[in-house]
Every structure is written in structure tokens, then in C-alpha cells.
Symmetry: C2
């Protein structure tokens, strides 16, 4: 188990109507000029946009707007936001949306203090020296960006999807109102839930000493997603289901559960290439990849962790052989993802063939094997992609 | 499930040797004058005192000292500390010890800004207007004071043991080095573990809608204590055991797991009267009381929560009747507390008889029944005390 520094100071208002008064009070702590960033029109449809504008106006905050942030947010949008922050001398960014919007604002916030293309933060050319404060209002339970330090941005010119992180990008305050996710479609609810589950799986599967306590927390978070995602899909306005998914999304990836590990993720980098090439929904890509990755890395060396996963998350009979439990656990995960969540179970259904697999695997392993629970060579990754067809 | 505000900004350095450089850097953020507060000589015995003094001296911090904080810290000690803070214009308090020391510094920190007896904070006569920042170095896994907002102080003149809390009392930074607990005796390790477990039980047993996700986290924390406390007792320098207990102690009570509940605790107020009258160790009192309280409140109305507790924490066969699972769970808890932890299983062994039970129960219920998982009348409480003989 590694030593660590726990430092997750994001303040969260959880529950309905928490933005009343609290939103403007929190924003004012940082100044008067607010850049409101959002995606498409969904926040207008659910009445959230009007509610926010009323709240900000009645508090005499000066509001600038940037809408149209893409589902896989593009560096060109980030550049636009950073430009507005500079021109208008913005004090605080208010991100309203899901992970895409919040991710984009993170690099706008840093871009405010950088003279150059914000893409430089993703390719490691620019250093994080300062960032505007971010306040978020979450409308989709998935990426956990509302409480974490990272973001993922797509460059459609280079067909690259890259992530980076820094503590100064963590939102200062986030408003989590489960009722704001009532209108999220069945499909997006399913993809978001697969994303949350994947974040936990990426940390949970680990080859070295881990802190048992944090494993138990992760098992609880996984059980939460597995229990409530199907309920949220069949009953979109079930508060209990939406609330559990929302709080689980934050804790899956805010840093708490993986602090004792120097972990390297496996499925996320493999998926990022997929969605960089094909612009598919991140959570869907993860759902298709994860069980194939599991089958690829399951062996007598790794079976113990799968056994723990099967017994503690899927309640599989602990008296079965370890390998039997492991295989059953993967089957149960598939059943959850492809039956309960009703997600497409292969890439062929998404009109994706093997034509770019070689290039994608090459890009992932350009600096050597992909380190993780089990290190993966270029060929391993191609095999995993092929198993997804 | 209740709405809530999550705001737990304590920064934690976890692991061995984290105080090197980090301690002085963190203290300096608040100023140059440090009041070092500790209990008896144990921090000298383990070499921690010298290490701290060296660290502070080499950073040119000006150090004042207050030692001798009692295991059940007294308001007279708190007054002394507050007095030093005023006289010497202290910038930051460094608490080195277990919950007693950290609890005491919380009211010193507030007392710095109050002209009067610090006991006034406990009886509600004084308001919290400001408080000095607190940095803590934890040496005992038990109360969770290192990351929470509250503290409990004893007034030996009035035989009262009272608690109060305020967000401004939460330590800004805490250093959690599991190796600093290697020298904690078997008995204190047992009492501390019983205390951690009790904090979770107090929140877990709740009559209304609770957030499932947080229940799973609590079940994980309870399993962690039950797994590692016996290991820490038989192998005092087992890092894994000490680390899991330490981090569990913080998360049991920092506020996270109970945020969706307007919870009222049961065993703690009943125990506080016990230790106010008899100065027994808090964790031991809780260990003796908790199973008796459980038996007293178990009924067909409350059996569901006990069933969940039995199945998910003690892995009892879920196919048994709910009442059977509940009763078995209480037996298993008793076995853990009195066999695995080797704690005394009744008050008679502590030379306590029923002579003050009436008075103690009267004090607890002076404003009406004790609200909680099941509301308790004066007679209920007397029955619970009597069951402890």
C-alpha cells in the first residue's frame, strides 16, 4: 500500500433546489464576472437554464455565455472559452452539464493563464501555472468530473483524444441535484452507469497490496451502480436511484478509492482511441471493452482479484472454485451491461470494423506496453479490439 | 434521504514519515507561533516528540507547549490552552495524540476568541465566532477527531461529559502515520476499535430512508474494523492492520457516511454519562453498552436493519429468518467485542453498580426521551444500564 495525500476540498450541495441562493453566494466568493458554459439545449428544456439565469441576475452577477460544448468536447471549444475568459476578465466559470462540459471548462480555466493553444495542456507542452475557479451544476451521472482533477479533450484534426489532470482544475463547488438527471435518456443513463462502473473497475483491479478498506468501499460503489442503474432506466424519475448513481459517480473517481495505489488504467486508454476514431459514446465503448479485457487478463495469476470481485460484488457462491467464480463474475457483468443496461454488445453493431485497430494499438503502445493490472502489448490490445467485433 | 452539504476539506498526509518537511510547511501557512499540545509521555517514548521538535526548530517556528491533556480531557486543561493562545498570540495549534488531545485543542482554538470559561461552549452559553487553525498528528485510531468537527470535554466538578461541534473546529491538516500507533497497547487498541465500530453503528441504524451507497460504505468500514482489530492486537506492528484501522477511524465519523440522515445517536449519550461518573474508557463503555442497546431495541419493527447488518457485515446466511439473523448478528458482535478484542463484558467487572443509573438516565432524558433509531425513555435507559451489570 502506498502513502498518499488526501486533499479533496470540493464542496458539494446535494439534493433538489440547492442552487437557490447558494449558487450565487458561492460564485460571489470568486468575483462578479461569470462565464456560463453548457452544451446543447437540454438545460433549457428542463428549465434549469432559466432558473440559473434568474438566480445569477437577481444576485447582480455579470454573466457571459458559451454554449455548444460537444459530447466529446473539442479543443477548439476549449480555446473559445479560454479566449472569452481573457477578453472579459472572467472571475469564475460555471459549468452546467455532464462530464464533457465540466472537462472542457477545466482547460478553459487553465487556458485563461496561458498564451497559446489549450491543446498544449493535453500534449504536455504547457504547464499548469494557475486556473480560474470552477463551479459546476451536474446534469449527468457518469464521468465524476464534478469532483475530480482531470478532463479529456478531443482533437478532431489529429484524431486524438487525450486527458490530463491537475489539482488546480478540481471544481471548488459542485451542485448535485438528482432531479436534474430525470430527463437523461435510457441510453445515456446506461452509458453513464457503465462509465461509473468502469472507473471503479479500473482502480479495483490492481496487482499489488491494496488497502482492504478501500476495496470494500469500491465493492459498495459497484453494488450501488448495479442495483440502481436498471431502476433509473425503467423509472427515470426515481429519486433514490438517481441520487445513488449521482453520488457514486463522484466517489468512483474523485481520488479517494485509489489513493493507496499507483494505478495505471487499462480500458480507458484503449477506449479513448476508439472514441477518438469513431466519436462513440465513452461509456458504451467501455462497456464493450471491459468484459473482453477481463477475459484477456484472467489467468491463474490474476484469478484472486476476480474471485473477490465475484463474491463481494455479484454475491457468487464463495465455495465454488476461484476460476469458476471469476468466469461467472464476467458473465454477470456482461449480463448487467448488455441485458440490464441494454447496451450494444459489440463494435460491429456500431459499424466499426478492424481497419484501424493496428493504428490505434500502435498509438497506445508507442512508448512501450500499456502498464496496468496486467501489462498489455500492442498485440494484446489488438486481440482485445478483435474480441469486441 | 435528506439533502446535504458535503464539505470536508481536511487535508490528510497518510503514511510513514510524512511529517518530514510537510509538517512545517503546513504550519507555516498559518503563521509562526505554534502551540504544541499533547497528553502524557507516550509521544516521547516513541520518539515522535523529538522528531516534531526537530522539524519545527529547523523551520524556525516558535513553539509553545502544553502537555498533560487527560484521557477524558477536562475543561480546566482546555482553559489553560486557550489562555496560552491568548497570551502568546498563537497562530496555529498542533495537536499530537489521540482524540482526547485533538478534542481539547478544538475548544482551545475557539476559546482563543472568547472571554470566559471554555466550558461555556459545551453548555451552549458561548457561540463559535472564530477559531485558530488546528493541525493534528494522530497517535491512536479511535475517535476520528482528526477529521471531524466535534469534541467531548469532561467537567469533573459537575460530573458532566458534554460534546459540541462546529465546522470551524475541523482540523485543517492531519498527519496519519500508522506506525505511530504500533506502541498502542492491546487494551487501547481494542477500546479504540470498539469506538470506531460504534461510530458507524450509531449512523447505520436508522429508521428512515437511507442512501444505499452510504450503507454499503459503512458495511465496508465495519468489516474493516472487524477484520483488522484482532490482527493489530496480536501483531502490534502490522502496518496493514494499523493503516486500515486508522483510515477507517477517520471515515467512520468525518461526516461522509451520515450526511443523508438527520441522525440522533443512542449509545454515545448513554455512555457519556457512564464515563462522566466513572471515568472509564469511552470505547470500553460503548462496547459493553452496544449489544445491550441492540437487544433492547430489536423488534419486528426494527428487524430489517439488523438483518441487513447481519448478512452484509457478518456474512450470516441470508436464507435464515430475519429475527434469527438479527439475533445471530448481535451474538457475533458480542463475540467480536468480548472474545476477539478481549474487552470486559459487563460493568460489574469495572466495579460499577446501579447506584447512579437513575440519576444518569434522568440527566439524559431531562428534555424528553432520547431520540434515535428507537426513542428511549428514562426507564428504557435504566433497563439498558441494568442489562450491562
Amino acid at each position: 500500500m502506498q502513502s498518499f495525500i488526501y486533499d479533496i476540498p470540493t464542496k458539494v450541495y446535494f439534493g433538489p433546489n440547492q442552487i437557490d441562493n447558494n449558487l450565487s453566494n458561492e460564485l460571489k466568493k470568486f468575483g462578479n464576472k461569470v462565464l456560463l458554459v453548457y452544451g446543447g439545449g437540454s438545460i433549457k428544456k428542463i428549465g434549469l437554464y432559466d432558473k440559473i439565469i434568474n438566480e445569477l441576475n437577481s444576485a447582480n452577477l455579470q454573466v457571459f455565455e458559451l454554449s455548444g460544448i460537444e459530447p466529446n468536447p473539442r479543443h477548439t471549444s476549449v480555446n473559445k472559452g479560454a479566449q472569452i475568459c481573457k477578453q472579459e476578465d472572467i472571475d469564475v466559470i460555471l459549468a452546467v452539464g455532464g462530464g464533457s462540459v465540466i472537462d472542457a471548462t477545466k482547460f478553459m480555466a487553465a487556458g485563461r493563464y496561458y498564451n497559446g493553444d489549450t491543446w498544449d495542456f493535453l500534449i504536455g507542452k504547457a504547464q499548469f501555472t494557475n486556473a480560474l475557479p470552477i463551479v459546476s451544476i451536474l446534469t449527468l451521472s457518469a464521468t465524476g468530473s464534478e469532483m475530480d482533477t482531470g478532463g479529456v479533450i478531443t482533437n478532431t484534426e489529429t484524431k486524438e483524444k487525450l486527458g490530463n489532470s491537475h489539482p488546480m482544475l478540481r471544481p471548488k463547488v459542485s451542485f448535485l441535484d438528482p432531479t436534474n438527471t430525470y430527463s437523461v435518456s435510457k441510453y445515456q443513463t446506461a452509458c453513464g452507469s457503465a462509465d461509473i462502473l468502469s472507473h471503479i473497475i479500473e482502480v479495483y483491479f490492481y496487482s499489488y497490496d491494496a488497502m482492504y478498506m478501500l476495496d470494500t468501499v469500491m465493492e459498495g460503489l459497484m453494488k450501488t451502480v448495479i442495483k440502481y442503474a436498471p431502476i433509473a432506466i425503467s423509472q427515470p424519475d426515481n429519486y433514490e436511484a438517481r441520487a445513488n448513481l449521482m453520488w457514486a459517480s463522484s466517489w468512483a473517481i474523485n481520488g479517494f478509492v485509489g489513493q493507496d495505489k499507483k494505478h495505471a488504467w487499462s480500458c480507458h486508454p484503449i477506449e479513448h482511441e476508439l472514441s477518438a476514431f469513431y466519436d462513440i459514446t465513452h461509456g458504451l465503448g467501455l462497456a464493450i471493452l471491459t468484459p473482453r479485457w477481463m477475459k484477456h487478463v484472467l489467468s491463474s495469476n490474476t484469478v484472486d482479484k476476480f474471485y473477490q470481485f465475484g463474491v463481494n460484488v455479484f454475491d457468487i457462491d464463495k465455495n465454488l472454485s476461484k476460476m469458476k467464480v471469476a468466469e461467472t463474475a464476467i458473465e454477470k457483468l456482461e449480463s448487467f451491461l448488455f441485458k440490464d443496461l441494454n447496451l450494444s454488445d459489440n463494435l460491429t453493431k456500431l459499424n466499426i470494423d478492424d481497419s484501424h485497430f493496428e493504428t490505434m494499438a500502435e498509438r497506445i503502445t508507442k512508448d512501450g506496453p500499456l502498464k496496468g493490472f496486467v501489462d498489455l502489448s500492442k498485440n494484446d490490445i489488438i486481440e482485445i479490439y478483435n474480441a469486441c467485433l
